[in-house]
């Protein structure tokens, strides 16, 4: 089955817009990018197979010229939220099937307000900073992992772990690790080594500093942590560097649970933050100042989050925090090129707004059977959750017999209230939810199986 390509219009060629244009055009969709900045468009035009239009995304003439009438998806991700709101409303009225607007305003994201926007014609509101802060909060609650993701209410989870010296599984093959188990509760679905992602088979070995992606059910959680040499630890003290929107939102959510110190360089901004954050200690100072960090007790922190607008400063200060013995470090890195570099430097987790937002939005381009999709940092691979239709190809035999693409792997199956890890002998039934880990080359191949 050939996957029908969608007509997608992206308003705004900022970082999110450009990244979306790149991944969506590589997935064979028809993309038009609108932005007032001719130079930005020029660089997109010369490197991607997309059409570019110079002008505002909220221009009716331009939207019509870009084929909004037949557009399946209109994504307004310009820098100004007002442009995005206007553009998305216009886009919907002019014929776009689904509209998504990036809106950086917490108030608009509250329950009833979302309804209000929907009635105006904006189907989905996206707030990259909020998604990023949610991600950070999730990570702080599941310490030990680099990244994690719950499928269907936590019945299956995807853990991303970095193998360090303490890990028991280093230099063992996949087979050796699992042979003593009677029932399989977890399974490594991918390994990223030196920037390259492989789908491991039984004879592949784990190596030091590998990043491994493990699908596990609740029963397997403990074993996963034990084998990978990780352990849970509670967090009490947290330092956030940078009062950016991500920092602010994270502090706001967590300030009643943890002791938080937030360092912000700008005086006026610090005062503003102190006003909003009642239980957080806001410190006005330069995060690059080691003495300041020390005097504020960096060494006693359980976690350190660097979310200033400057990726280099974030990476370096996390590095410093690690040296001082902070167990959990999270850095916001907006240059995609730096991600592998930063991961090799030993920072636990890299947060990238673009990737997070893109992963949210690219869900709208998948067929109805895909109920969740997660783009992972540090690899091109994606984890997807499919709902199996009756009579779909994947139900026609055990997984090893149906010619499932080699560059993808069924990690786990959720059936009713139970969940289990898939092996070659497993069979998928109608209405199961299936967690699939796929390299980019496989994404369109696997859609035909569901």
């Amino acid at each position: 089955m050939k996957i029908k390509s969608m007509r997608i219009i992206i308003g705004g060629a900022g970082e999110v817009g450009t990244h979306l244009a790149r991944i969506l055009s590589n997935e064979n969709h028809d993309i038009v990018v609108i932005d007032p900045d001719e130079e930005k468009l020029h660089s997109i035009d010369s490197s991607l197979d997309v059409m570019v239009k110079v002008g505002s995304a909220a221009s009716i003439e331009l939207l019509e010229e870009s084929g909004i009438k037949k557009a399946d998806l209109f994504i307004a991700v310009a820098t100004s939220e007002h442009t995005n709101i206007t553009a998305a409303i216009l886009g919907k009225r002019l014929g776009a099937k689904i509209t998504v607007a990036r809106i950086d305003n917490n108030e608009y994201h509250k329950g009833s307000n979302i309804e209000l926007f929907r009635s105006l014609g904006i189907d989905y509101l996206i707030y990259p900073e909020k998604i990023a802060s949610r991600e950070i909060i999730g990570l702080l609650r599941k310490t030990g992992t680099t990244e994690f993701f719950d499928f269907t209410g936590g019945m299956l989870s995807l853990f991303v772990l970095k193998l360090e010296k303490e890990a028991l599984i280093i230099n063992k093959t996949l087979q050796e690790v699992t042979q003593n188990e009677s029932t399989l509760n977890y399974r490594a679905v991918a390994i990223t080594r030196n920037g390259e992602t492989i789908i491991p088979r039984g004879s592949d070995k784990f190596e030091l500093y590998d990043t491994i992606y493990v699908v596990s059910n609740k029963a397997g959680l403990k074993d996963v942590m034990r084998y990978s040499g990780k352990q849970y630890y509670g967090i009490k003290n947290l330092m956030i560097l940078g009062g950016s929107r991500i920092g602010e939102l994270t502090a706001l959510r967590l300030e009643n649970e943890y002791q938080i110190k937030l360092i912000e360089i700008d005086k006026a901004k610090s005062i503003q933050l102190a006003d909003i954050l009642e239980n957080t200690l806001v410190i006005n100072g330069d995060g690059r100042d080691v003495d300041l960090l020390n005097s504020e007790g960096l060494q006693n922190m359980d976690a350190f989050i660097a979310v200033t607008g400057n990726s280099e400063a974030n990476i370096l200060s996390c590095q410093l925090a690690r040296k001082m013995g902070v167990k959990k470090t999270i850095a916001e890195v907006e240059n995609i090129e730096y991600i592998n570099l930063a991961e090799n430097m030993g920072i636990d987790t890299i947060i990238n707004k673009k990737l997070i937002t893109a992963s949210r939005i690219s869900r709208f381009t998948m067929s109805a059977q895909v109920s969740m999709i997660k783009c992972l940092t540090g690899t091109d691979a994606e984890a997807l959750e499919f709902i199996v239709k009756p009579d779909s190809k994947i139900t026609k035999g055990s997984l090893q017999d149906i010619n499932f693409p080699k560059d993808a792997l069924v990690g786990g199956i959720i059936r009713g209230k139970t969940s289990f890890i898939a092996t070659g002998k497993s069979r998928v039934e109608a209405n199961d939810r299936v967690v699939v880990f796929a390299l980019p080359s496989a994404i369109h191949k696997i859609e035909s199986f569901f």
Binding site: N26, D30, I31, S46, L48, D49, M51
Partner: protein, 482 residues
């Protein structure tokens, strides 16, 4: 570093494609019982086998390539196509000399139409069809065609498209380059078909109708008659060809809009207005002078004038009258028109309307800038200001174009030709027109030029068709630096 495995892989596949296209000549060979059947089959076989083996040998090479690989692929596609495309002529011994055959084929693919044949009517039909077909394939572009029909050029296709499509800024008809390429070829095929049918009504036989529509839409100018279109005395045929030359010299994006009844967009386009205005203006001057200097009726002067002006401006190079025998004022005008060219995004060659128009506008503004030194005065095109980067690109193009012309004239005069002939030969080959003036005028041909001159002119044709930069960039040291 440049990845030659990818380049060879793509070139192999394209050569295989050329071999398949040669087979289109086979039915005509069979029908006319000409002796060219086996030479064509053998040439096709050689191309298919060579191309296919190269492709299979390098099939494992990744299909993503960068800018540099793109330029090399485009330039060498054209060279290799001309090399293998000349095989049928050589093997059939109808053009026994390889230099001549290569010149004829390069002149075909680049839609120049400069010929070395002294007796076109004696050629076999299959070969004549292949000769016209080279123009037709080269007109809309070999690469553009490959992007439309081959799946493997997907992402890298972008780089190739930009390197082959004429004009400073290629417009896209569709977000996907592949879809844009198929739409362009679609219009091209429709126009060619319609022209062939119209020519059939004018008492042209099917074979000649197909050949002439191939070479008209490509703005090529190869005819199946030694006397070119002058052979057909019917005014109907001449007007039909004039009209289709005009269409071929129009931006195909505009034709696409016109076919979708979006005429406002066509008429609002400044380049189109400039193109039509220039044609009308020069045609009226030429027809008036013709009426008073030649023994022609009013309609006859107009018809000769409009045909010749459109033919030269669009860089087709068909002739209905030997313009080199007209009064000097007229042939000088014709010679100067060789530096205009069709619209951007058309199949025409030479400098092109859009560049001339922007150059004129910008130069005019320069005067205003002298009086208002602090004024912001961008050159505008279709009511949009044009970035200085594009203006400087256009200036560089025109300067290169003129410098190469000067250099070319000196080289050809070194071979013993006078100023008229040297200038005509260089302008007509670099501009992909075909007939020049003097010793290479409309009643003459290029057979008497020494071998060195033929290779040199072939190179000029290639440079002209690929709009200088694509070829020149390969010779620049920075291209080869890591």
């Amino acid at each position: 570093m440049i990845n030659f495995r990818i380049i060879l892989k793509v070139l192999g596949l394209l050569l295989l494609l050329e071999g398949l296209f040669m087979l289109f000549a086979v039915p005509f060979s069979l029908y006319y019982h000409d002796p060219d059947l086996f030479p064509i089959l053998i040439s096709s076989g050689i191309s298919i086998v060579t191309g296919g083996l190269t492709w299979i040998f390098f099939i494992k090479a990744p299909s993503n390539f960068g800018r540099r690989e793109g330029y090399i692929i485009v330039v060498f596609t054209w060279i290799i196509f001309s090399f293998f495309g000349s095989l049928p002529f050589v093997l059939s011994r109808e053009i026994p000399n390889f230099t001549d055959a290569f010149f004829e084929t390069m002149s075909g693919f680049t839609t120049t139409g400069a010929s070395i044949l002294n007796d076109i009517e004696s050629m076999s039909h299959g070969l004549l069809l292949w000769r016209s077909m080279t123009q037709w394939l080269g007109g809309m572009g070999i690469i553009v065609l490959s992007i439309a029909i081959l799946p493997i050029l997907g992402i890298g296709g972008m780089q190739l498209f930009v390197a082959e499509v004429p004009g400073p800024t290629p417009d896209k008809l569709h977000p996907r380059i592949k879809a844009t390429a198929s739409r362009l070829w679609g219009i091209y095929i429709i126009f060619t078909g319609v022209e062939a049918i119209l020519l059939l009504f004018g008492d042209m036989n099917l074979f000649d109708a197909i050949n002439h529509s191939f070479t008209t839409m490509a703005t090529g100018g190869y005819s199946t008659k030694q006397a070119s279109i002058a052979y057909y005395t019917s005014p109907y045929i001449q007007y039909v060809i004039t009209f289709f030359m005009f269409l071929a010299g129009t931006n195909f994006t505009l034709s696409y809009f016109a076919l979708h009844f979006r005429f406002r967009k066509v008429w609002k386009n400044e380049e189109f207005r400039f193109y039509v205005g220039l044609l009308l203006g020069i045609t009226s001057i030429v027809s008036m002078v013709l009426y008073f200097t030649e023994n022609l009726s009013v309609e006859g002067s107009f018809r000769n004038a409009v045909f010749q002006v459109v033919s030269i401006v669009t860089t087709t190079g068909f002739v209905t009258a030997d313009y080199s025998r007209w009064v000097p004022f007229l042939w000088v005008i014709i010679l100067m028109l060789m530096f205009t060219g069709g619209s951007a995004g058309s199949t025409g060659g030479s400098i092109k309307m859009m560049r001339l128009l922007l150059l004129l506008k910008n130069s005019w503004l320069e005067l205003k800038r002298m009086i208002h030194p602090n004024a912001v005065l961008p050159a505008r095109f279709n009511h949009r200001s044009v970035s200085t980067q594009i203006i400087s690109n256009i200036m560089a193009f025109i300067i290169f174009y003129l410098l190469i012309t000067v250099f070319g004239v000196i080289v050809i005069s070194f071979l013993g030709y006078d100023l008229d002939s040297s200038f005509g030969a260089v302008a007509a080959t670099l501009g992909n027109i075909g007939p020049g003036i003097g010793a290479v005028g409309p009643a003459e041909n290029y057979s008497h030029i020494p071998a060195f001159g033929k290779w040199f002119l072939s190179f000029l044709m290639l440079m002209g068709r690929l709009e200088l930069f694509t070829v020149l960039v390969i010779f620049s040291p920075s291209f080869w630096k890591k």
